[in-house]
């Protein structure tokens, strides 16, 4: 396989991996996330959060993929495809960046859930309802 062909194949393969990583993470967390949103409220907030969760994972993953540039230090296309090792290195950087952006997105969603839980507890206490599980 020529380097030019490798560049094309690897670029779209890493793009497919972006979808795979984000999709796997979404499927792994989807059930528990849905449970939390249902426990929070059956209103608009729950619907918004459910709709935003996959968006909030896929977009950062693609951001990670797109943020890595082949044209470092003003390289021309010929310079880029000259060495296979450079192409492999950029592919590794792309995957690494995708994973790190998913991690950052997850930390953000953890915070969102935390604020939602706090909001729920505050509204439960102000309406005089008992918490879901009694403390010993």
């Amino acid at each position: 396989m020529t380097n030019d062909r490798y560049l094309i194949v690897s670029y779209f393969a890493v793009a497919a991996m972006t979808i795979t990583f984000a999709g796997t993470t979404w499927l792994y967390l989807r059930g528990s996330f849905r449970g939390i949103t249902q426990a929070l409220s059956s209103g608009n907030l729950s619907r918004i959060l459910k709709a935003m969760f996959p968006v909030g994972l896929f977009l950062p993953a693609f951001l990670g993929f797109l943020s890595v540039s082949y044209r470092g230090c003003g390289k021309s296309y010929e310079d880029i495809v000259k060495e296979r090792s450079y192409l492999v290195q950029i592919n590794q950087e792309q995957i690494s960046s995708i994973l790190l952006w998913i991690v950052a997105a997850l930390l953000f969603w953890d915070l969102v859930i935390l604020f939602a839980l706090r909001f729920r507890r505050t509204s439960n206490q102000s309406s005089g309802e008992s918490p879901d599980i009694r403390l010993p």
Partner: protein
């Protein structure tokens, strides 16, 4: 397969083992803490799973962000040093993510627990 590929595979396997080896000893304690503070089964599952993804992905990102470019015919110890250098990259990434999760856990504790202690 070249020696560089073997070095990369070794680094990859070590990173995965490190992430898994760190997750399992912490899991039970974290689960207990979350059950006490979050008190919503799905919430506990979500935070535990996100912790696993966080650890695993940060380790993988650290391993993939490192390139081994030793020339053929390099000495064995040069490959070992290269893997060790990559492993330090992995540890740095994991430490950063662990720090982030620790801050998050502290905020969870502070904001959800204090209200019930009153």
């Amino acid at each position: 397969m070249s020696a560089n590929t073997y070095a990369f595979i070794a680094l990859f396997v070590l990173s995965a083992a490190l992430a898994i080896g760190l997750f399992f000893p912490l899991r039970d304690a974290l689960q207990g803490l979350l059950q006490h503070t979050v008190r919503l089964p799905d919430g506990v599952t979500f935070y535990l799973r996100s912790f696993f993804v966080l650890l695993f992905f940060s380790a993988m990102a650290g391993a993939l962000g490192f390139t081994s470019d030793l020339k053929p015919g390099s000495y064995f110890m040069e490959y070992v040093w290269k893997v060790a250098s990559g492993l330090s990259n992995v540890l740095a990434q994991m430490l950063l993510c662990l720090g982030g999760y620790l801050v998050l856990t502290t905020i969870i504790l502070a904001s959800l627990k204090i209200k019930d202690d009153k």
